[in-house]
Symmetry: C2
Subunit: 150 residues, 2 copies
């Protein structure tokens, strides 16, 4: 016992931090979701929209992989966004199997509007002191880096 008390304290810190994040994300998710609903779409649809950049169509499979979900799920999401007129299925030049998903003019506009709202209304975030924001940015980037490696 009492081997490495700092180690134990650090493990405890991990635990507390994970719990807080788990808790906090649940709340944040609701905020994001309701922001999306104000614009007439849903959170998963917004995540799909997030992956699309102007002039850079992505194939269905690429979306499925990026969203880490089944391809059939993407079909449904694309259906809805296409009905709304925000994206369109294009045929790929070399392969008639693949469909490239591209933002429409309307979609670009909508995406920009949605995004400015979606990335701003976290008062809990904007209220942070500048130094904390910079630190947080650095930490989150480190976390994402270590995540994509696994």
């Amino acid at each position: 016992m009492s081997v490495k008390p700092e180690g134990a304290r650090e493990a405890n810190l991990d635990h507390k931090l994970s719990t807080l994040l788990f808790e906090h994300f649940q709340v944040e998710r609701r905020n994001w979701s309701s922001a999306c609903h104000e614009h007439g779409i849903t959170l998963p649809q917004a995540h799909l929209l997030r992956l699309l950049r102007t002039g850079r169509p992505v194939k269905m499979n690429g979306l499925a992989e990026a969203l880490d979900c089944d391809a059939s799920n993407v079909t449904g999401l694309v259906d809805k966004l296409e009905t709304r007129g925000f994206i369109q299925r294009q045929s790929a030049p070399g392969d008639r199997r693949v469909k490239m998903i591209a933002l429409t003019k309307e979609g670009q506009l909508f995406r920009a509007k949605l995004w400015s709202q979606l990335t701003q209304p976290a008062p809990s975030l904007t209220a942070l002191p500048l130094a904390d924001k910079q630190t947080l940015l650095r930490i989150v980037q480190a976390m994402i880096r270590s995540e994509s490696k696994s």
Copy 2:
């Protein structure tokens, strides 16, 4: 133009940070979800379980409020967890309308097991240097505080 360039830079920082968090949480959520599924429950059910402490029953309405969702939704979640034997509906002493939800012996055990897994497997988090963890903890706590005030 060129009014408060630092202000503009800070707004840009907010934007970048929000985007990263939005992106990162999507990934983290998948990890949590699959961890839950390994234990045979789902993420929303885990969130409900999170709210229950041994010896501290919570009424349905309290759960609905804490989860920020419709009461009818809670009914369904409680149904499933009760079927699994993790929780049970108790009648409240003073009011025959309310039902208190309490952890069973099995539920306590399960919750502990689930929790130790759920709060640990974020390698992107445990890999952070100690100082970053402490800073992150402080920041997240500040964010949660500012959130509950709104």
